[in-house]
Symmetry: C2
Subunit: 494 residues, 2 copies
């Protein structure tokens, strides 16, 4: 996807990272309140861009204004959430073990630990979230909150939107008297520019949202470094949904309505889109598929994000439907125009699914494959055969859960988030959210890309031994001047 | 280092990991109290091995009985610390955001998060800590506490000691009715066996303590997997110690006594050994070196851990001393016997150090290099030129710290632990400890290998959305049956 912005050269990228490193030292001297105001101000400045920002994003991504309005609110909400986190302060996990000079055979020293920023963070935004996972999205907000300067590579598919958000951040930098290079913005469409950003000596960590291919490439670039750095890539997921027999029997139409909506929401262009459905074959399942088919049929096709995504959707859905044993349950018959996507549901047996790895692959778009299994054992086998996921969902009655305990116990091993009677699309931004999961849902299942814990990707602990109180960071001083929760001699205190 | 144990074949290793995976499912069903008793019982059974264990370890490692007695206490203490952590319970970071059904435009679901085990962990023990970083050492204790089964590759240099500790763990498994394969023990001396352990499909993560070469190899094996897994390697460190002018002037003899002790403690075979000293050149520095020289001279040489380490020490210290501009301050004149090490202190200018990367390398053993700098600027440049470290130490008066603020501010960026007026050798096992640091001190500076937070290497968050209360893990149920600290709607509650 070419655009009219100049591609950053390798030299320019190294200079950008050098400036980011210099900004890191300055940024660390800013107070908690200064950093909080900075995050709040970025949110204010994004809002101040008004409808022009929404219109530009709609023009570049084909996403409807309503959706973009919501996404903008989520983006500014995230920035303000991290500002609140900074003011609350316990995120640094301050931990104190006081000295025991009289201990034998050796005295115990005074030890105090807290989390500190890693350094310059490179963020690769997502095509499908021009605000919330892009320029001033969750990765940027959490990295700035951590105290790390950020370099964003604008997503080529919405580079002008990215420039507008960048202009808002620049205003916030000036207004808050922050180091000019605490946030920098580069353009690039080549793998080479991505490689240079990951391999620049001053890059301390990387955040990415997108394809498995892209995320794994960045991960590999880091592994090739003299000093490997953390790369958090949030990548592919087919988000299995299990429909259990009792609910399938009792709530056929309701379930079909919920899922025809979830599969086609935003033309399926969510990393949490339910691309795989599992059930034990039964007349109720066939009935459900009839209802689902009707629901899908009525969905109005809409334009996908860009040409490349549409081409991939047409190819990948076509390839999947061509596989032996796969039947089309429903594919909208409306003639699709331009880069509109045809919502599609397909059906396959458990045996065929297990034998064909291609069917395990993500088809990014309004596509879902129902795997009809012979029995619970086969269903569990199918579930265990899929790779790591962002989410796994169970639709069932309480009776269902009691009848299928072994299945339910399997769920946490598959995914970062497990849902009961809901749809995986829609990611709440809160402390309990986990957006990440076993590979390839993300490159490191120990972290989340959404919620306040997203900050943990960019921080590391440092321990101060026998340090003079007045020279300790405020979070670790005896008097607890920040009034934060701390673990003091193994007890939580404030 | 060959020994008489049979090398595990690639097939056997895959079978071991398969059994570990099967044990994982069973181990997860054990209660917190059962797991705690298991850890306590391992500690008891290690103690029950009595003097025979100490004698075997002394025979294999040449370490003195006194040191081994202390290390055994640390090892059993660690196991009991993790048992206590399990009973206390807040380590799972239970986080709850309750539903807001009436929220518009969309209702807020109920979301609850906690940390769960990753799966089978492979542990590569250290040569220099036959107990505390080996078979039942910190990696094993933290992984079992996390709920992960463990496979240890015995260190070839103390394979019989490892077998004895393994026998204690087997007794604990039987006594506690744990799955037989919750802990398994393999032998191997080749890179191939290490590679097979890291690349087995069921391996979920890896812990390693040892050389940069070995740790990086394991890291690379993981990066080559279809699904990369976390590898926490704790590797090389030269642990810079900065002697500031005022203290060097006032406490010359005391400093020299402290550091001649620290440099030669355990024949320098600690990852926290002070291998690099920095100071601004002055008559006081020369006086300090004279005192240090006298201190080093009186140290009785002792046998190193094994032939390979001795050979490496002789070669690396010789190579360092051969470099242009390096002078020997003191090398014990006693004729060394067998595999005894000669304690050595060398001196070089800041300029020469900066120009010669070989001088930045770790010389594992009782060796330390003093870098005499022209001024504070050069000292900071030298400090910034060294790679990531486990520790950095400042020796100074309060006046020194005030006079050298910029230097002091640089310290956290270098290391995981920064000390004031102490010696880096001696790692306290407590919640505030950080044993890890920027690469190559460890492969991921966001984690520690020592203290209760070592458990965080082996766990990942999982989020339950709209899950029925009775089917939630106890840590997340409404009534808080475990009585643990939890973050509920952004407030800490118990």
């Amino acid at each position: 996807m070419p655009n009219h912005f100049k591609e950053a050269s390798i030299d320019e990228i190294n200079q950008v990272m050098q400036r980011s490193h210099a900004a890191f030292e300055l940024f660390q001297k800013k107070s908690i309140e200064e950093k909080s105001i900075f995050l709040d101000t970025i949110a204010n400045e994004i809002e101040a861009l008004g409808d022009a920002l929404l219109q530009k994003a709609a023009e570049e991504t084909n996403l409807p204004i309503g959706r973009l309005t919501g996404e903008r609110a989520r983006t500014t909400g995230q920035l303000r959430m991290f500002a609140t986190m900074l003011r609350e302060g316990s995120w640094v996990e301050a931990t104190i073990d006081t000295a025991i000079p009289e201990r034998t055979p050796l005295p115990k020293p005074d030890l105090r630990k807290m989390l500190i920023p890693l350094g310059p963070i490179v963020v690769f935004g997502a095509s499908n979230f021009p605000f919330a996972y892009s320029t001033a999205g969750g990765d940027t907000a959490s990295a700035l909150a951590a105290g790390c300067p950020v370099v964003v590579k604008a997503h080529p598919a919405h580079a002008e939107t990215s420039e507008m958000v960048y202009s808002a951040i620049k205003k916030a930098i000036a207004f808050c008297n922050m180091p000019a290079d605490v946030f920098q913005h580069v353009h690039g469409t080549s793998f080479e520019s991505g490689k240079a950003l990951v391999q620049a000596s001053h890059t301390a960590a990387v955040g990415f949202t997108g394809s498995t291919l892209g995320g794994k490439a960045l991960f590999d670039y880091s592994a090739q470094r003299k000093n490997p750095i953390p790369v958090f890539s949030e990548m592919g997921s087919i988000n299995p949904v299990i429909f259990l027999p009792d609910t399938l029997q009792k709530n056929t139409a309701d379930l079909a309505a919920q899922y025809s909506g979830s599969i086609t929401l935003g033309m399926g262009q969510f990393c949490t889109n339910p691309g795989l459905m599992l059930a034990i074959d039964s007349p109720a399942l066939r009935d459900f598929l009839d209802h689902l088919s009707t629901g899908i049929e009525t969905v109005q096709p809409a334009k996908m994000l860009h040409q490349g995504i549409h081409t991939a959707y047409v190819k990948k859905s076509h390839d999947a439907l061509e596989q032996k044993g796969v039947t089309v349950v429903q594919q909208a018959t409306t003639v699709a125009h331009d880069i509109e996507a045809l919502p599609t549901v397909a059906l396959v047996s458990g045996e065929t699914f297990l034998a064909n790895p291609l069917l395990h692959e993500e088809v990014f778009g309004p596509y879902s494959l129902m795997v009809a299994c012979q029995d619970e054992d086969e269903l569990i086998t199918v579930l265990k055969s899929v790779s790591g996921q962002l989410t796994t969902t169970v639709m069932g009655t309480i009776q269902d859960l009691t009848d299928h305990q072994q299945l339910v116990e399997t769920l946490p091993s598959i995914a970062g988030r497990i849902l009961f009677n809901g749809v995986p699309t829609g990611v709440e931004v809160c402390a309990s959210m986990v957006h990440g999961g076993p590979y390839p849902a993300s490159t490191d299942s120990r972290f989340t890309a959404v919620g306040i814990n997203a900050v943990k990707r960019w921080i590391r602990p440092v321990c101060y031994q026998n340090w003079p109180d007045s020279l300790l960071p405020l979070a670790l001083q005896d008097a607890n001047p920040l009034h934060i929760w701390r673990l003091v001699d193994n007890e939580w205190k404030k």
